[in-house]
Amino acid sequence: MDWVPIAWLGGIAFGFAVFSVVAGALTGPRRYNRAKLQAYECGIEPTPQPVGGGRFPVKYYLTAMLFIVFDIEIVFLYPWAVAFDSLGLFGLIEMVLFIATVFVAFAYVWRRGGLEWD
Amino acid sequence: MSFPYAPVLAAAEPASVAQASGTADLTWLLLAFPIAGAAVLLLGGRRTDRFGHLLGTLASAASFVVALVLWLDMAGRDVEERATIQKLWTAIDVGRFHVDIALQLDQLSMAFVLLITGVGTLIHIYSIGYMAHDPDRRRFFAYLNLFVAAMLLLVLGSDYFVVYIGWEGVGLASYLLIGFWGRNPAYATAAKKAFVANRVGDVGMSLAIILMFTTFGATDFVRVHAAAAGAGEGTLTAIGLLLLLAACGKSAQLPLQSWLGDAMAGPTPVSALIHAATMVTAGVYLIVRSGPIFDLAPTAQLVVAIVGAATLVFGAVIGLAKDDIKKALAASTMSQIGYMVLAAGLGPAGYAVAIFHLLTHGFFKAGLFLGAGSVMHAMNDTTDMRRFGGLRTAMPVTFVTFGLGYLAIIGFPLLSGFWSKDKIIETAFHEGGVEGWTLGVVALLGAGITAFYMTRVMVMTFFGPRRWAEDAHPHEAPAVMTAPMVLLALGSVFLGGILAYGGMLQDWLEPVVGGHGEEEGVTTLSPIVVTLLTLLVVAGGAAAAYLQYGRREVPVVAPVGSPATIAARNDLYQDAFNEAVLMRPGQYLTRSLVYADNRGVDGAVNGLAALIGGTSGRLRRLQTGFVRSYALSMLGGAALVVGALLLVRI
C-alpha cells in the first residue's frame, strides 16, 4: 500500500501531459509562419533532411556535450563543499585529484580546438 | 587395471646391478660420440662435406676407445660388481608408470658394445674408400653414425622402453641406408620393404612392453625379470612370443625374413654393418636379454628354437641357388642368425653359445661382405658370380681375407666358426629327446649346406677360368679398404679360439645369462663325436660343391635348372607367399573397407557436411547487417534468458 501515492503521482503526471497536448491542440490558434519552424532560442535548424539521411554540423552537439560533462562534474563539488569539514584532509586531496583530472580533459579539449566554433 | 606385482617389485632391487660410478660414469660417452657425429654431419650440411667421412669415422673410433676403457675397467672389477647402471634422466613419470633413460652396462651389453663399435669402426674406415666417389658421402657417414648410436642405445638400454627407442632408431637408420641410393626405385622399394617388415616386428615389441607394464607395473629389466616368476605361464608365453615376433623382424627370421635379401640394395658397407655388427643381431640380443622370461615359458622357448632351425635351413637352401654374391651372403646371414636363434631357444645352456656365434659371425661375415664389396669395386659393381672367376690372382689380398672368412664360416677346424658353430650343434644334441635330436640333425644338416654354398661362392668367384665382362679390369682395392679386411680376417681366424679357450666367453657372460649347461642336459652324443660328424658333413658339402663348380665349367648364363633350383632362386617363393597370404587378403580387406568408407561413412559424413553447410547458409541470412534486427534479436534473447531462469524456478 506504500506504493499508492507513487502511483497517484505517476497518474497525475501522465494525465497532465495528455491534457496539455490535447488542450493546446484544441484551443490554440493555428497560424503557421517561418518563425514557428525555427528552433526555440537555440539549437540547429530542423530543416527536412534529404532522403537517405544527410549530414549536419556536429559543432553544436560537441559544445553541448562538453557543457553537460563539465556541468555534471561540477555537481560533485556541492556535496563536498557542504561536508568539507567532516571530510577533512582526505576529502581535500581527493577533490584536488578529481579537479586535476577534469582539468586534464579541459586542457585537451581546449588545445585540440574543441572550444573553437570555426 | 591392477598391478599385483608392483609392491613385490619395488623391493626387488638386486644388489648385483650397482649404480655407475668411477670409470663406468663414462658409459654415456659411448652414445654421445656417434650421436654428436650424426648431428654435426646432418645439421652442418654441405659445409662438412670435406671432412665428414673423417669426423664420422673418428666418432665411431672414439666410441670404440671408450668401450675398450670401460671393458678393461669392468674386467678389473670383481664379478659381482661388473654390471652397472647409469641413470641419465627420467623420461616418463606418470602415476605408476616410471621410465628412466638409463644405460645398463653389464657383461652381455659389453660384448655387444665392443662388437658394434669395433666392427663398426672398421666398416667406417672401409667406407672412406668405398664411398670415395659418391657425392653424398657425408650423409652416408651421418647415417652410419646414427645406425651405430641407435644400436648402442638398443644394447645399453636398461629398460625395454629404452631398448624400444634404440630398436626404432635402428629401423630408421637401416631404412635410410638401404635406400641410400633411393633414386633407383627398386632400391627405394627395398628400403620400404625392410621398414615395413620391421614394423610388423615392432608391433610385437610394443605389445610385449604394454603387456609387461600391465603385468608387472614396470618395464625395466631388473624389475621385470625379478618379478617374472610371479606371473602366470600364459602371460609369460604371450610376452615371449611377442618378443620373438619382434626379434624375427629385426633378425630376419621366418616369417619376417623376406626383407633381408632385398636389403642388399644399400651400399655394401651397409650390408656388412647390418649383417655383422648391428641390426640382425638385435633379435638375438633381445631373446638372450629376456632369458629370464623365456626360461619360465618353455613353449615360447621351443618356438624360438623351431623358428631358428627352420630359418637356418631356409636361408641355406636359398643360398644354394643365388648367383648374386651379395644375395648369397645375405642368405647365409639368415641361416647363421638362424643358428643363433636356435641356440638362444635352447635356454640357459644356449645363451652364451648364441652370443659366441654372434661375435665370431660378426667378424667373418663383415670380412666376407667387405671382401664382396672389394670384388664389386674391382668389377664395376657387378655382383653376378657367373661373371667372376679366377680373381685370386687379380686381387690377392681380397682373396686371402675372403678365403679366411670362408673357412671360418664353414667351420674349418680351429678357425672362429668352428668353435662357435660346433658348440651350437653340440648344445642342440645335448637337449635330448625328440626335440634335441631333431634340432641337432637340422643344425648338422645346415652346416653341410653352408659348406656347399659357401664353397660355391668361393670357387665361382676366385677359382676357375675368367668369365669377366669385356670391360672389366679387376684391381686390388686401396689400403683404406684392405686394412679393415685384413683385421677382420685376423678376427675370423683367431677370435673363436681365444673366446673358446677355457670357456672364457661363457665364464664372462655367466652372471648375466646363466650357467654353461654342460652339467645339465642329456648326453646323447659325446662332444668329440659331434665335432667329427660336423667335420664330416662340412667336408662332404665342400667337396660336392667343388665337384659341381670347380671341376665343371660354370655357364655365364644361368641354366634353367630343376624346380628346386628355381624355387631357391626365387627365395623359396617367400615374396609370392607373402603376397598370397598377406598382401592379397590385405588388399581385399582395404578395398572393401575403402568401398564401405566411400559409400557408407563418407556418404554419411558428406551428407552431414552438406546439412551443416546448408544450415550455415541459412543461419547466415540472419546476419542482416541492420542494427535494428540485431537489437531485436538481443531483446528476444534477453526475454528467453529471463524466461528460462523463471521457468526453472517454477
Partner: protein
Amino acid sequence: MTVAAVVSAASVPAASVSAAAADSIPAPHIEYGVLSPLFVVFGAAVLGVLVEAFAPRAARWAVQVGLTVLGLVGAFVAVVLVASSDDWKGARAVVAEGAVTVDGPTLFLQGTILLLAFVAVLLLAERRLDPGPSGAFAAQASTVPGSPGEREATRAGAAQTEVFPLTLFAVGGMLLFPAANDLLVAFVALEVLSLPLYLLCGLARRRRLLSQEAAMKYFLLGAFSSAFFLYGIALLYGYAGSIRLSEIADAATQAQGSDVLLLSGVGLVTVGLLFKAGAAPFHAWTPDVYQGAPTAVTAFMAACTKVAAFGALLRIYYVAFGGLKWEWRPLMWGVAILTMLVGAVISLTQQDVKRMLAYSSIAHAGFVLVGVLAADDAGLRGVLFYLLAYGFATIGAFAVVTMVRDPAGEATHLSQWAGLGRRSPLVAGAFAIFLLSFAGIPLTSGFMSKYAVFSAALDGGASPVVVVAVLASVVAAFFYVRVIVLMFFSEPAADGPTVAVPSILTTVALALGVTVTLVLGVIPQPVLDLAGDAAAFVR
C-alpha cells in the same frame, strides 16, 4: 582516524565533542599498493591525454607509444609484485572499502590482459604496413570520408595518436571489470572499457564507412546491452538491498523476497555480460564489428575484451550467483550449446578472413562457457588458461591478417589467400599454427585449453554439453583445415595479395603469438599450475 585519536587522547568532555565526532565522516581506506596496476594504467592514460594536448605534433607518436608500453609494462610489474607479496591473500583481498577484490583470479586475469594488451599495442603502433604517419588509422576521424577535409588532414600528415590513450583507458576498464566486487563498480568498469572501444572501432583509414558503421553498431548495441545490465543491477538491488556481490549471494541463500525479482535481475545482468563476451544470442554485433574495425583494434578487442568479460562473468556467477547454480545451469547449458553451434556452423560459409575469425571467436566464447559450467575451481583454472592461450593465438592470427595486403589495403577475402603458403611459407605457417590451435590440435595451446575446460565440465556433470562441444570443435576444425588447405595446396592467383614486410613491432607480436601457442601446447604445466594456484575466488 587521526581525529578520533586526538579526541580520545585529549579526553575532553564527551558532550562537547559529540557533535564533531558525529559530523566527521571517516576517510575510506584505500589499499594503494594492491590497486597499483589500475593506478599505473589510468595514470598513463591521463598523461597520454596531456601529451595529446601539449606535446608537439612531431614528437607525439613516439612519446605516446613509449608511454603506453611503459604503462602496460609498469602495470604488469605491479601485478607481479602484488602477486608475489602476501598483501592480497585471505580476508585482505577485498579492498577499497569492499568495492574491489584483488584475489588469485583477479591477478591472473589482470596479468593476462596486460600481456595481451602489450602485444596488441605493438600491432596498433605498426606504421610500415600501411605507410603514413598514422598507420592503419584515419588521420582525423571526425572528417567525412572522401571529403576535402579528410584529404587535407592526410596531406598535413596528422598522426593518429589518440589511439594510445584510448587503448589505455580501455585496458584500465578491463583491469577493473573482473576485479569489481560490487555491481555498480562492475558497471562503471564496463562503460570505461566500452566507450574507448566504440571510438577505436571507427578509426580505420581504409574502408572508413565500414569502420564507422561498425563503431555505430557497436555503440548502439553496446548501449542497449548496458541498459539491460543496469536494469538487472536495479532489480538485484531491489531484491537484496545491496549491490555487493557477497551480500547478494547471502540474500539469495536466505531466500528472502521475491524470486521473480532475483531471477529477472540475474537474467538481465547475464545479458549484459554475455553481450561483451560475444555469446549467442547476443553475438550479432561481433562479425560486423570485427570486420569493420581496424584489424589491430579487432585483435585487441578479440583478446582483451573477452578476457575481461569472462573474468567478470566468472566472478559474478561464482560469487554472487554461486548459490543459484541449479537455476542458471540449464540456461548456461543452452547458451553454451547455442553459442558453439552458431559460431562453428556459420563460420563454415564465411568468405572473409576477419568475419571467419569473428565467428571463430563466438565459437570459442561457447567453449569457454563450457568451462564456466563446471562451476568449480577446476573449471575456473581451465577458463583462465583458455583465455590466455586463446588471446595470444587470436592476436597472432589478426597480426597475420594485417600483413596480407594488396594495393587497396588488407586482402581479407578468403579466395585471395589461396596459395599463400607457396609465396610466404613462414607467414602462412604461422597462421596455420594459430588455426590448428583454434581447432584444438595437440601440441598447440588450443588443445590443452580445450582439454582443460572440457575435462572440468565433464567432472562437473555437464557431459551433454561436452559432447556438443566436441562435435562443434569438429565442425570448426573442418573450416580451419580448409583454410590451411587453401593456403598450402591451391595455386596462387596471378594478381593475388602479397605479404608485406612489417616493422619489428608486428614481427615481435607475431613471434610472441607463435611462441606462446606452441610452448603452451608442449609444456602447459607451469601455466596450468599458475592458473590452478590462482583459481579461487575470495568472496
